[in-house]
Symmetry: C2
Subunit: 235 residues, 2 copies
Amino acid sequence: MPVRLSSIDRRRQILRTASGIFARRGYRGTTTREIAERAGINEALLFRHFPSKAKLYWTLIEELCSARGRRQNITKIIEAGGTDLEIFTAIAREMLVRNARDTELTRLLWFTALESHTLSQRFFRTFIAVYYEELAAYIRRRVRDGAFRNVDPLLSARGFLGMVVYHFLVQELFGARKFQKFDPERVAATLAGIWLNGMRSGVPQVAANGAGHANSNGRNGHNGNHARAGKKIQQ
Amino acid sequence: MPVRLSSIDRRRQILRTASGIFARRGYRGTTTREIAERAGINEALLFRHFPSKAKLYWTLIEELCSARGRRQNITKIIEAGGTDLEIFTAIAREMLVRNARDTELTRLLWFTALESHTLSQRFFRTFIAVYYEELAAYIRRRVRDGAFRNVDPLLSARGFLGMVVYHFLVQELFGARKFQKFDPERVAATLAGIWLNGMRSGVPQVAANGAGHANSNGRNGHNGNHARAGKKIQQ
DNA sequence: TTATAAAGTAAGTGAACACTTACTTTATCA
DNA sequence: TGATAAAGTAAGTGTTCACTTACTTTATAA
């Protein structure tokens, strides 16, 4: 029983189908025939919705970029407050878990980066740069607070995301997952712990409203855990 | 004046040419015609050297894997000794600089990872895994020494490499380089600094020969720099 | 109930692909 | 010096690709 869809629904369906195939095979590795087949339609119909394969791909990336408000996630986590460790662990967890759920988007992103210079930059800004700019802003604040050492916020933000993203890529893309599983929660806590410990100033201050003053118990702990981070941040 | 090469030289030349094109366009994006053209030969000659495009690709990856002894680099750095900061900065610098020199290999690696599951695993083990296994071994030693906190060596090694590799990928692959340049030396020092500080135990010990004993000046420094790391390691 | 516009398709087209065949050129050494 | 083996090529082959043409089906509403 062939389903007859409205133009707009069919379009959406084609995009959804195409997304999966492009993610698995890349732009050049994907054929319009396969997309049509998987969508359960004739190839000609695909070309009535999208004038070319290239335009279909472009549209797909565009819609992904405008649809997903990833920025939200990280902002929300930061605004929810908590200790630094809680915040950074939550961010790492968010990335590990969400990424695992849509490996598709990640693959699409990396394929695009490799295959197309132009396309990848916008894609990158939407899905990656916002992450670490948001993070950099938070780091800058904590440096002002005196809670973090005075290191380049952008670079250190990139460092943190690098730890997390790279772990994910190694597990998913390079198939390390087959040989060793990792508990996302433990990974998030460990990586956040290392990074955060590395960022901590020896002389932490109360952070809120910039009115903080030094306190004396500020040295880093050894071994064990490190949940003793800086204070909440202002709403 | 057409050059007439010996079979073995022609083969080498084809591989070298193919490497560049595969790296730029990926496996599926590369045509045998273009390889032949760029190599200045007829396509038929290419197929006398390699029975198929797939076999050519495989051979290329194989030869890259067996030729380059990347493992050497990191081992040498560790064996050369120095403070932890010196060692980790050197590793980061090595990766940033070498990677920048052969973006080609990096692109090839990532294309392979995305396009082929089977192929990528061996490739990965040769060019990435060795790095962090070597590193993990060193970290394990430093944990035993009491210089590093007791965190998963593999995970933390991956974290360190993640920082460095990710920074490189963002700069090179996603074109962030166009908007902001970074001095590799500064990047290496900063990332190594964060990570190392994060790994440091509050109670460092003398490392050499396992005969180390606790000493009391062991807290982490605040702000400023951190070249005050653990001791040399045994040759 | 029938006109119509839009959803949908069968069967192509030329171009580009990986790969082959059948041939020519040239270095080398008996 | 000429036989030979190997380097090299012109001109294909069948197949698959992105994309088109000319047609059929069906929901809707006057």
